[in-house]
Subunit: 278 residues, 3 copies
């Protein structure tokens, strides 16, 4: 990919996208188009399971949408449409997406973060939807995401005051996944991303399918989960992995030290895979 | 307004309603009617954007509904209906409503607080729905609000035990907007209420509309938000305010100090308004 | 009841079920059938209002479902069906159910806990749904409950990483009702269970009915709550209890010390009941 403001770093099973666009990582039409292109390319990568969006700017994850596209002139209409499409595209990515917010994420910048599956905020992060201060509502699903994550009362406070929310508060109120201090960010990312890279794409699809349905319709999701459990139970891969966990002490008190047990299983599986490749 | 138990204090863009009714701010039919009258009057005030309900009682926000109206005699039927109507009326106020709970809010008192858009609780606050101890469920939407804010498991614990919940717990579990220590209450109110007083009524209506829909139907709310964004983008007021934020350093690293930037914008806008009035 | 792995202890109005099954409280078909039998028996006990599920294993609440039933052979099909039925049966118990998790609750073990109305976790507790590590989704509503309690973003992190979640985090994120340190567990249980034992079965049914509806349909639940309030208001029991609370200082500043007031009411009521029995 030929990108000007984005640095793409591919590793085994996951990709980091580093945003470096002008003074404040403003979501200009140029950056939006580049992000759309990268999202489309990453969706084609069948070995990719996770995408980590980060900023190289010390102060901003992304300041917000370029306000010069907020008008009804031709380039405004196009820019707005592109931005709204980008938010949908990020929400619909195949990979599990992470936003690492280590600076300000306001307006469209916060909406871009909220479009990711998982959001970590450091002690330097602030989140805001200050659009109403310029007479407009958020346009990239910011008020909808605020409502669904914060609940009615905190969403109204957040949206009507334009105020910054720090990461500990955003975690406490459910706006973001976790407050992760920057000192432990790399370790947290490794712990969370690594098991995801071991999954198949269909595992991610299945979990998103059940989780999304569960939020809308508990009863229907229970039936779907049962169905998927029964389908998967009969697969050879399931029997193979059950054999491995039993071999390494599952169902005994060795499960007290489950991470050791699972590490042994992983090493065993990797040895099998290496032998298969020979 | 001629009120006996309520002191109404109007300031620029917001109103404080101080409740002082008997020993425990009991929601008698008399107090309910007076509150209904005040709510109706405030809805007519086109310059009012926020209403702050407070208590002058050192121990009680409001003890609860007068239990002598809980019967099927004529005055009981009327009192119950008036109370249920009051809860609906407070929920449907035009202004953003605040309940400042610095004492006990139990039963109908808690339901009155929950009917407000935003609830702050101090270290002196307790919240409870102890109705089941007298053989009845809450009647002012208390069990419904508990379920929606606390979730099933905590709502059942809360409702079946009649127990008091303090403000830090109520914040942690999402029953109230925030725990605000009484020492920082005035400062918090000023920070939150001031930006709301700068809004138009239609801004508040729009945000309530999107937030309420988002909680019921995420997809429909996304479409509504986009529609409102596009409508508002074309307004002269939007272009004027975008011009102002750009003039004062938006989209540059000056956004690191966003509160200074926004204060400059506000001062600039107020200067324009003063000139227009001349 | 003739049980091998379960110790049933009946007290006034509530029952403790102690699980002691092999090395890790594995949910084998044998244990599942025994739990189903106990659940059915407890539903017949008209004086029982609460059931407390605990483990006598120092390390495990329950490790998980026996993985040897996860297959499509005859005993696998039966075992899976029994497990899924158990989860539904626990969710539908008449009594308010508690899971006291003082060790590991993973997979089916966590699903059994989530099927209870109230879950307390100690400093020794961990919660996990690690099924995806063996190629399957949870099958006992684990992904559905994770989605509904944690929200989309935390549920995906939880389900896709197979990671253990400790009780303070599980409380903060809403997976469990409360983190209760083991040192204060007995006291907490007494405080919470005692008032529930004073209720009638129809009180529990009514509260579950309103809470469950409120989560699905706020408007319908408001109407249901009003209806139940009006029905109950006219009952003799309500008038009797209102008389008692008024006699002991309700609606006066004595409500500052509400627990003393309620204790006096309880003593008074018990005296009446003792006299009636003579």
């Amino acid at each position: 990919m030929d990108t000007k403001s984005l640095t793409i770093k591919k590793e085994t099973g996951f990709t980091t996208v580093l945003i470096n666009h002008g003074e404040v990582n403003l979501l200009t039409n140029e950056l939006i188009l580049e992000l759309q292109q990268v999202v489309a390319e990453l969706n084609k990568d069948e070995l990719n399971r996770a995408v980590i969006f980060r900023s190289s700017n010390p102060h901003f994850f992304s300041a917000h949408l370029d306000v010069t596209v907020i008008n009804r002139r031709e380039e405004g209409i196009t820019g707005t449409a592109n931005f709204m499409q980008l938010i949908d595209d990020v929400k619909n990515m195949n990979a599990i997406t992470f936003a690492i917010v280590d600076g300000a994420a306001r307006g469209g910048g916060n909406e871009f973060a909220m479009a990711c599956d998982i959001v970590y905020g450091t002690e330097n992060a602030v989140f805001a939807q200050p659009e109403i201060s310029t007479n407009i509502p958020p346009g990239g699903q910011g008020s909808v995401q605020a409502a669904r994550r914060l609940g009615r009362t905190r969403a109204l406070e957040f949206l009507l005051t334009s105020a910054d929310m720090d990461a500990p508060t955003a975690e406490r109120f459910g706006l973001i996944t976790r407050h992760v201090p920057s000192a432990s960010l790399e370790q947290t990312l490794q712990q969370i991303v690594t098991p995801i890279t071991f999954l198949e794409q269909r595992d991610i699809d299945m979990m998103k399918e059940i989780v999304d349905l569960a939020i809308k319709d508990e009863k229907a999701a229970i039936e779907l989960e049962k169905k998927r459990f029964i389908e998967r139970s009969g697969e050879d891969k399931t029997q193979y992995l059950i054999g491995k966990v039993l071999k390494h002490g599952a169902q005994t008190s060795r499960e007290i030290h489950i991470s050791e047990l699972l590490a042994d299983v992983a090493a065993d599986v990797m040895q099998d895979m290496a032998q298969m490749k020979q």
